[in-house]
């Protein structure tokens, strides 16, 4: 069954009701944090196992719902790793960056990420000069970018969805705003092949801490080939949803039945290592896959390279980014 949440949590919850009536064994979804909060809670009322594919808000796994399992990392861990890597990057370059501006979208994901960054960055030697929130959708960033131009931060950290990310990056380039780095945390477009292909000049040198596959795994590359052969882009929601389906398939096999209770039990005890994410075997604690980790990417020479962690980095980071 497919359910369209129409970008609204209440519609997502209503779709879960329909799915329950249809007798589904499990649910995978719902991309957005706000919608995932609603769908997991609705699913919990009926004991339906719910695998969260992308939603990054940590509240999703902090409500004691035994039916909820998140395969990917949450924004708390992602923000932490992003800051660690930013500090390492800045230190290695002789600390050229000191000031930071955060631009985030208004929902749970952007607001939560921004709050974490705002709290952590000053403790790590950065001054947060601006925290700018914007609506979804936004089709005009002129004012916000003019403000950034006036503040001239060393680093701009966007945390927003694809359309707004692209528009922000393009407006920044047009208005001549060129910080030392655009360093996203869960940037909607920064790790997107679509953005890199369509707007290579705007995407150049952008760094991101985001969900990414393990490039050493042949299955990941094979899926990328298949997805691209169909004219689609290999974005994180594609490979995370793909792996969420395989996680459920593994749990179904081990449960040996379509019983919701048995699947919940199988997921809770899952030690699945057949995936191609850089996570290690699954191990769910309060519904969170403890081994899940983000990676850092940078757009270099028209493609997306992994710059951290060192064990499978495909390129060395370029920081500060060259002046235009």
């Amino acid at each position: 069954m497919l359910g369209d949440a129409q970008s609204k949590p209440e519609v997502g919850a209503a779709e879960v009701e329909k799915m329950n009536e249809a007798g589904v064994a499990a649910i995978i979804g719902a991309f957005s944090s706000a919608i995932s909060l609603a769908t997991t809670q609705s699913a919990a009322r009926y004991g339906i196992p719910h695998i969260v594919d992308v939603g990054v808000s940590d509240q999703i796994v902090q409500r004691g719902l035994t039916n909820t399992f998140r395969f990917c990392p949450g924004y708390g861990l992602i923000a932490q790793i992003a800051i660690d890597n930013l500090v390492a990057l800045n230190d290695a370059a002789g600390k050229p960056a000191r000031t930071v501006a955060i631009v985030h979208e208004e929902s749970l994901f952007g607001t939560g990420t921004a709050q974490l960054l705002q709290k952590e960055l000053p403790a790590r030697g950065f001054e947060v000069v601006e925290v700018a929130k914007h609506a979804n959708p936004t089709r005009d960033f002129t004012n916000l970018v003019l403000k950034l131009k006036a503040l001239a931060p060393d680093i701009v950290i966007p945390a927003n969805y694809y359309n707004e990310y692209v528009l922000l990056a393009r407006t920044m380039r047009q208005q001549g705003v060129r910080p030392k780095a655009i360093y996203s945390v869960l940037g909607g477009a920064a790790s997107s092949f679509k953005f890199v292909k369509e707007f290579p000049e705007d995407a150049a040198y952008i760094m991101d801490c985001n969900h990414w596959y393990d490039p050493r795994k042949a299955e990941a590359l094979e899926l990328r080939r298949k997805v691209e052969a169909r004219g689609l882009y290999y974005t994180y929601e594609v490979f995370l949803a793909h792996e969420a389906v395989r996680l459920l398939a593994d749990a179904l096999e081990r449960a040996g039945s379509a019983s919701r209770e048995r699947i919940v039990e199988a997921l809770a005890t899952s030690r699945w290592d057949g995936h191609f994410m850089p996570y290690g075997p699954t191990r769910f604690v309060n519904g969170q896959n403890e081994g899940a980790r983000p990676v850092n990417t940078q757009v270099l020479n028209g493609t997306i390279e992994v710059i951290f962690p060192a064990e499978f980095a495909s390129a060395r980071p370029v920081f500060p980014m060259p002046r235009a």
């Binding site: 129409q6 089709r139 004012n143 003019l146």
Partner: protein, 290 residues
């Protein structure tokens, strides 16, 4: 913060947005002036026009500005038929019923769009949409300036239509006293539908000018209705120049508010003006006391 290049860019950007707001508000104001009702379907009709432009660009490969000669008459015709077949028939001449009918049309159109196109936000990509033009010390997107120029031209044409044509005279006569207009032989029902058609045609033009730098989704009209309604109240209900200057003012307030208070809080200025107008000058800047 107060660097001239930044302030100028924000100001010009506000004026450019304001010109398009003025065009949208003029359609609403014209319908109010003649029919004496707030057309609640105005935002939903703008949404429908934006979808029409989107599909003309995306499927037929048309340039959004080249769609103007197609969409303006098409939107006008749709508006005329909508008034004749739906609004006039369903309301049976009662003004309060017209209000409810337009609200009903808005609900139907929005839900139809949701069913047909889902809630995805759609945008168009044009090669020139992001090219920049230097205006004094400021850099501005060419598409914004083109939209402003197009909106100002449309306002001028609308003004000429209202002031210098028989249709304009008939519209003004009906707006002033519909019974007297009927006595001198004006087909009042036809003029009602024509005013509704012109109001909808302005949305056709606004949609073509907006889409290169904007988006379309089933709910896109909500924001515009609120802004257009504020402009009409600010300028004076039914006042042509009130809507025009009100549009520019609201555009500038929104832009400077965004610059100084942030994107979310920046909208406060618009609604503060709305409340202040209602409290201090309920007839609006250009309105006459009744």
């Amino acid at each position: 913060m107060l660097e001239p290049s930044i302030l100028t860019a924000s100001l010009v950007h506000g004026l450019a947005n304001g010109a398009v707001y003025a065009l949208v508000a003029l359609g609403l104001s014209l319908v109010y002036g003649v029919l004496h009702i707030i057309n609640f379907a105005h935002g939903a009709l703008l949404m429908a026009a934006l979808y029409a432009v989107y599909f003309l660009v995306d499927r037929a490969g048309l340039d959004p500005y080249a769609a103007i000669p197609i969409l303006v008459p098409a939107a006008g015709a749709a508006g005329y038929l909508l008034h004749r077949w739906v609004v006039a028939k369903a309301s049976r001449g009662r003004e309060e019923a017209v209000l409810l009918v337009t609200l009903g049309i808005a609900l139907v159109l929005e839900n139809l769009a949701l069913a047909l196109f889902r809630s995805d936000t759609r945008t168009i990509e044009t090669g020139w949409a992001f090219s920049m033009v230097a205006v004094g010390p400021a850099l501005l997107p060419a598409a914004k300036l083109a939209a402003a120029a197009g909106a100002l031209l449309a306002v001028a044409l609308l003004w000429a239509l209202v002031r210098a044509t028989d249709l304009g005279r008939a519209i003004r006569a009906v707006a002033k006293d519909r019974e007297a207009a009927r006595l001198v032989g004006i087909d009042v029902e036809h003029v009602f539908a024509l005013a509704f058609a012109i109001g909808t045609a302005t949305l056709g033009a606004a949609a073509c000018l907006l889409l290169p730098t904007y988006y379309v989704s089933p709910q896109v009209g909500h924001g515009f209705v609120l802004i257009a309604f504020t402009i009409v109240v600010l300028g004076g209900m039914g006042s042509f120049w009130g809507a025009f200057w009100g549009g520019l003012l609201i555009g500038v307030v929104e832009s400077l508010g965004g610059l100084f208070l942030g994107e979310s809080l920046g909208q406060i200025g618009i609604f503060a003006i709305f409340i202040a107008t209602l409290l201090l000058r309920p007839t609006g800047l250009f309105g006459r006391a009744v």
